[in-house]
């Protein structure tokens, strides 16, 4: 306003510009608010909000790879070789596996014993070093997948010791058998390694998945074992070396026999 009481043109112009700027500012702010609302809506009403203090959860680091009971695996292989003199060679199934993968596995690889009705025609053996997977597609949409693993995470007290376990016919170890969404799974410990055997079915009502009978038979059939190159090397390194006394006895024995 001018001193005359009439509106000053300059002041009016300034006021109008100022109002425009304020309008633009408010518009910008409003646009900004709308945009943020859109962001929130499009991230799906996401209601994605400011971070809040995050609860702290336990983490469990994997333990060092467990020691494999190589001597037990070697004894089983010796038994298999003994049986091979009268039966189909035990290595027949192993021969169908991918040798490069087998040679990288630092575990005993369990296999179906001779005569077991498990096809290796489409077998895929996959190495993870201290773990492996053996996928065995069977007929009619049934798959058997065996996992071996010696990389464990610490479990709470009772998590395994109080877990329901079963004794299966012709299986030495206790086995946990559980139904899954698409079949059955079994897990057990042998040679210091955790083995898991999954049976999955395209048709959950098919004979292989309607009950746990097929799984039980499959677990029982996986009684043979083979070692790839790395496992052989580790088994040899772990084998007890003869003591000086043993060596002396061997030499005396040879001398006594006149050798």
């Amino acid at each position: 306003m001018s001193d005359s009481g009439k509106p000053d043109r300059g002041a009016l112009a300034s006021a109008m510009v100022g109002a425009g700027v304020v309008a633009i500012l408010l518009g910008g702010l409003a646009f900004g608010v709308v945009t943020y609302a859109q962001v929130k809506a499009q991230t799906s009403a996401s209601q994605v909000t400011a971070a809040r203090p995050r609860p702290v959860f336990a983490l469990r680091k994997p333990l060092p790879p467990a020691k494999v009971q190589w001597s037990s695996a070697l004894r089983q292989i010796a038994t298999q070789n003994q049986n091979a003199k009268t039966q189909t060679p035990a290595g027949a199934f192993a021969a169908k596996l991918q040798k490069p993968a087998l040679d990288q596995i630092r575990l005993p690889v369990i296999l179906p014993r001779n005569g077991a009705a498990i096809s290796a025609a489409k077998a895929k053996l996959l190495s993870f070093g201290d773990a492996y997977a053996l996928n065995l597609p069977q007929d009619q949409g049934v798959q058997i997948t065996v996992y071996g693993n010696r990389s464990f995470v610490p479990a709470d007290a009772g998590a395994i010791s109080r877990r329901p376990m079963q004794r299966l016919l012709n299986v030495a170890e206790n086995v946990a058998v559980e139904q899954t969404e698409d079949g059955w799974t079994a897990t057990f410990e042998r040679y210091g390694v955790v083995y898991t055997l999954d049976v999955s079915c395209d048709d959950i009502k098919s004979p292989a998945c309607a009950s746990d009978a097929y799984l039980r038979n499959a677990v029982a059939s996986f009684s043979d074992v083979t070692l790839g190159a790395q496992a052989q090397a580790e088994a040899s390194a772990a084998a007890p070396q003869p003591s000086l006394l043993d060596k002396l006895n061997q030499n005396i024995s040879k001398l006594a026999k006149g050798n």
């Binding site: 962001v39 995050r54 996928n135 410990e189």
Partner: protein, 298 residues
């Protein structure tokens, strides 16, 4: 005056810069993440403080202490009312994994005790609502590991229950949204609606994805996959029964198994493989996803 105009233009540009691309879910999330991160700087110190209070055997550390965008979710172990006995384990069994779906938002919740599910409470015995009900495609997330099922699950207080976590994709449409690898790993099994991968790194967790569209699966047994790599599309497949295709709701059933060892009083170890609750790992993965972690790999 020029300064005021410049300020106005600057404000407009900043506002425009927050506008997400409608076609890109990831950028939508990132935009929201940026906005929410801006709001949340003040809470970072609180986060760090909370982390130092860890009484767990080992607390989340490093990047997990930093502020990440939050989203509404029920706490782990808290199931929908009357949906099961639940569990108590508060371990993150798969820290650092990618979220198993490529696009956000996604909704972890129950398929059985939500609209469209067989046990969703309703007046009608035969109709339980629609699986596409907006309630199913809204936050908050709900844990559904150990939800009532007949399957043996020793982690559950009842000894039985759901062995994974169900996650609905962005919208109620099948065969559109990609499931992705959560870790660098190798594909170890593929069924008519399932994909399993085993992590390359110890402890070699087994991750399984169920209800996929078989025709869309882009990997084969033996393939090496990397974090965020597309595996296949989320669908509603449930295999066949007597030659007839079976369906469930549109969702991803995601499960994790870990080989574990229990040390006994005499020093010996008992070891076994077990399903573990994935919810805590998924919440963490989702928050990182919203902040831009795990870009999708074709």
């Amino acid at each position: 005056m020029r300064a005021l105009y410049s300020l106005a233009v600057l404000l407009l540009l900043v506002a425009c810069d927050q506008t997400p691309s409608a076609s890109d879910g990831a950028s939508e999330s990132n935009a929201a993440a940026t906005a929410s991160q801006a709001e949340s700087a003040a809470s970072e110190s609180a986060v760090a403080e909370a982390s130092t209070d860890a009484s767990a055997e080992e607390a989340n550390t490093g990047a997990e202490n930093s502020a990440l965008p939050d989203f509404p979710h029920d706490p782990p172990t808290q199931l929908v009312a009357n949906s099961g006995s639940g569990y108590t384990d508060m371990t993150n069994w798969a820290p650092g994994i990618c979220f198993p779906l490529a696009q956000t938002p996604d909704y972890a919740n129950s398929q059985v005790y939500s609209p469209g599910g067989d046990h969703y409470p309703s007046a009608s015995a035969s109709s339980h609502g629609s699986q596409c009900d907006s309630a199913n495609y809204s936050y908050p997330w709900h844990d559904n590991f150990c939800e009532a099922r007949n399957w043996t699950n020793p982690v559950c207080q009842s000894g039985q229950g759901h062995q994974g976590q169900d996650i609905r994709p962005t919208a109620c449409h099948k065969d559109i949204y990609w499931a992705v690898a959560v870790e660098d790993g190798t594909v170890t099994q593929i069924g008519s609606y399932t994909v399993a991968i085993t992590g390359n790194a110890a402890p070699h967790r087994i991750f399984r994805y169920l209800h996929m569209q078989r025709a869309s699966v882009q990997v084969a047994v033996g393939d090496h996959v990397v974090r965020g790599q597309k595996l296949g599309l989320v669908s509603n497949n449930l295999g066949v029964s007597n030659g007839v295709q079976q369906y469930t709701t549109i969702h991803l059933h995601f499960e994790v198994r870990v080989a574990q060892a229990e040390t006994m009083a005499d020093g010996t170890q008992l070891a076994a493989n077990a399903f573990v609750p994935p919810y805590i790992a998924l919440v963490d993965a989702y928050q990182r996803k919203l902040a831009g972690d795990c870009p999708t790999v074709n």
